[in-house]
């Protein structure tokens, strides 16, 4: 199995997530056993204020999406929308709006027998929007669909290790895996994981290709209509199975209108004029102003990501390790954060971001253990390299979001160590072709998700995504070991080794962990920030006259 999950180009968190795969993070956060017995009710309803029912919320979405067939989308924004229509066997939650947890959703109980058998016991009384009751057979059908390369070519690999599915009774599903599968908790979330998102089998069969435009799920909202490049309208599903803390019916809202607004200044304008009640991301230039706006609540959190620049080791000049290291010292991360992201994020010194909980090494916070800015040292390293007299390099960048701006800053910073950088912009398909197929670049800007899913495919020798052709056998061994290790402590050790090797050999310059934002008018109540780019409307209500 080759997992390329968790891979993301820079346009991802640059809020233009064409083709980005999902968020996967915080594997180390919760111990395995903790997953079994969590309450199913939604948190945070113990407020003084009683929820008002009804109303339509309009949310400006920064990107078009491809399909509402959860098993076939490649857009992370689509997952955010899917999560309001579907449920997964598991879900992502965030108690504090910063870290994330994985919990059962449609499963009442999740039990792991040995290290290869997972048993899910389903809630009773769950129905699809078309009235069909949810049974173990439906779950089985869905997992089989995902495993089938013909039907879900994009996610089939996630279930490659799935050997057999048993349904001993209508509400129990027993899965047999060939190896330990620590990635399951990520893959089985109803939002970004997609592998165990439960679609209505009858609807899929009946609607065929058109299903992606006419989805049927078990989620709090049912699909009403989709106007291409305009909006998706969802409507409250009256028989939704989840309840609030007080046992009241969910959801509160009557309708959810997801309005696609891809021009950043218009998105902000629409929010300011109240034409939308909230937006799901924004060009960082606007955030400071929006924070000052007394009418708005701005939710931000550092995402589980690391923004970096890969160096092409297979080519001159970055075959020279000293030059690579010089680059890692020449990058003034603070300047990038200020000029490109306008402070929306934190500096990254290594690939593992602070919200990564157990994997994260606090010593990185000071910078001195990871990569950090030191121009003098950079210059010294250049002198030691074969390119003391200067070198030229092409920086390949996608043409959207803040990527071109970052390229500009990098160009100026690298010029200080005598590196003459030529910026080459490309749109997404061309970018991918140049980057992964042709590999005619020296530097490339990427934004990655957290290490568990990115270190292996991107830096393991011989992998497709390792377009910079870095080869380090020790590193390979470390990430291979981590991938099939269920024990958190051992995995952490493997990853720390891997990170150390990266820092030493410098195939990549690490720069930032950036924020994701959700901005709502203050009358939008009870929105739960889950920094996996989710916009869950399950328990949201509007405090409007």
């Amino acid at each position: 199995m080759k997992s390329r999950d968790g891979f993301e180009v820079i346009n991802g968190l640059l809020r233009e997530e064409v083709n980005r795969r999902a968020v996967l993070r915080a594997l180390g956060w919760s111990a395995l056993g903790a997953a079994g017995a969590l309450p199913t009710g939604l948190p945070g309803l113990a407020h003084a204020q009683a929820a008002k029912r009804g109303g339509t919320i309009k949310i400006g979405i920064f990107q078009n999406i491809d399909t509402l067939d959860a098993h076939n989308t490649t857009f992370i924004t689509a997952c955010a929308i899917h999560n309001n229509i579907y449920n997964g066997l598991l879900k992502i939650t965030s108690p504090d709006g910063r870290g994330v947890e994985f919990k059962p959703e449609l499963a009442r109980e999740w039990e792991i027998q040995g290290d290869r058998i997972h048993v899910f016991r389903l809630h009773k009384g769950v129905t699809f929007h078309n009235g069909d009751p949810l049974t173990a057979a439906d779950v089985k059908w869905n997992l089989e669909r995902v495993k089938d390369k013909q039907q879900a070519p994009i996610h089939a690999w996630k279930l490659e290790l799935l050997e057999a599915i048993e349904t001993p009774d209508p509400h129990t599903v027993k899965l047999h895996f060939t190896k330990p599968f620590p990635f399951l908790r990520v893959a089985f979330t109803g939002s970004t994981g997609r592998a165990a998102t439960i679609l209505n089998p009858r609807a899929v069969k009946e609607r065929g290709k058109a299903y992606g435009r006419n989805p049927v799920g078990t989620g709090p909202f049912k699909f009403v209509e989709w106007k291409e490049a305009d909006y998706i309208l969802l409507e409250k599903y009256p028989n939704y199975w989840e309840t609030d803390g007080a046992g009241g019916k969910l959801p509160y809202l009557d309708k959810v209108l997801l309005k696609f607004i891809i021009e950043p200044s218009t998105l902000v304008a629409a929010l300011k004029t109240g034409e939308v009640d909230g937006i799901n991301n924004v060009a960082p230039q606007f955030v400071a102003d929006l924070r000052r706006d007394p009418k708005l609540n701005v939710f931000t959190a550092v995402g589980g990501n690391w923004r970096c620049m890969h160096m092409n080791i297979a080519k001159e000049p970055f075959s020279d390790k000293n030059l690579r290291k010089a680059v890692t010292f020449a990058v003034d991360r603070k300047e990038i954060l200020d000029r490109v992201e306008f402070g929306e994020g934190i500096l990254a010194h290594g690939p593992i971001s602070p919200p990564m909980g157990g994997f994260y090494d606090p010593a990185f916070e000071t910078g001195r253990n990871g990569q950090y800015y030191d121009l003098e040292q950079a210059k010294a390293l250049v002198k030691q390299s074969r390119y003391a007299g200067g070198a030229e390099a092409t920086l390949l960048s996608i043409n959207s979001g803040t990527a071109p701006r970052q390229a500009e800053v990098l160009q100026a910073q690298l010029a200080k160590i005598g590196l003459k950088v030529k910026i080459e912009l490309a749109d997404s398909p061309t970018f991918r072709r140049r980057w992964l197929q042709e590999r005619q670049w020296d530097l490339v800007q990427i934004q990655d998700l957290d290490p568990d899913e990115t270190l292996y495919p991107e830096l393991h020798s011989g992998e497709t995504w390792n377009a910079g052709r870095w080869v380090n056998k020790d590193f390979d061994r470390a990430v291979e070991a981590a991938r099939s290790e269920n024990d958190f402590r051992k995995r952490k050790k493997f990853y720390q080794d891997a990170v150390r090797l990266i820092l030493e050999d410098a195939p990549v310059a690490i720069m930032l962990h950036v924020n994701e934002q959700k901005i709502f008018h203050k009358y939008v109540k009870n929105f739960q920030m889950i920094p996996a780019n989710l916009i869950n409307m399950h328990a949201v209500w509007l405090d409007k006259a």
């Binding site: 399909t67 490649t74 305009d230 004029t273």
Partner: protein
Amino acid sequence: MTRFALSRVGQTVGVLWIVSVILFVLMRLIPGDPVLIMLGDEFTDEAYRQLRAQLGLDRSLLIQYLVWLGNILRGEFGYSYISHASVADLVFQAYVPTLWLVIASLILGTIIAIPSGIVAAMRKDSAWDYGSMGVAIVGFSMPSFWKGILLIWIFSVHLGWFPAMGYVAPWADFRESMWKLVLPAVTLGTFFAGLVARIVRSSLLEVLDLDYIKAARAKGVGQAALVYRHALANALIPVVTVIGLQFGALLGGAVLTETVFTIPGMGRLTVAAITTRDYQVVQAAILVGVLSVVLVNLLVDISYAFLNPKIRVTA
């Protein structure tokens, strides 16, 4: 008239065929292909080859073209590679808003352009002339996206007079629909108005110099009737042609205007499809767009013939 119309229709068919060839070749020349997008993060060389074969992209360009052309001629536009939606649905859904935008801009532009062109011509070299022509030039001198964004921030965010964005079908809510159309139509319409006003002016000036105007004056026709009856009827004939020719430019302008104002039209659809190499959608969308341009030009030619008795009565 029939002969004239028939020969124009014949030409149009030829043009459309050439358009289909240009379109197809152009699209296939663009590096990167839908497979890269469809594979998303699941990219492997093997998967890449497999999916390409599945989509028929590994066949020769000629075969691909013939298959596509055959499908189009049978009215089968296929499914989007990216969204799996029916291309015909996508294009139709996108066509209506664009049509509204273009028509609204045409009407608004014409309403602005014709009177100001007349005023400028009637008072040639006066402050009126300089004023209206100055405004006209500014109208098409601002990049439309910038004009649009300024309009949004001034008239929506700061003054709150008009909605900032969006589209509502006129049959769903007419008032709301028109309300939302104001700023986009102003953006696109002022561009168009600037162009047309200048042409109205020069066309009118040209006609006013002709013999039959002098002859009409010699007959005792008063100044107003001279301009509005005798001159305008002739001066507007070339203006109709220009309006028709500008239809294509308006569609092009709609690309930017739609993006700024979040109108789910052809421009946005096309740009999005190009950036994902969604060949099926791009090809269909541009073909339909070009088809409308060509048809409008055909109609304009024929209406030109109709307006002009010389062609109407003899040909």
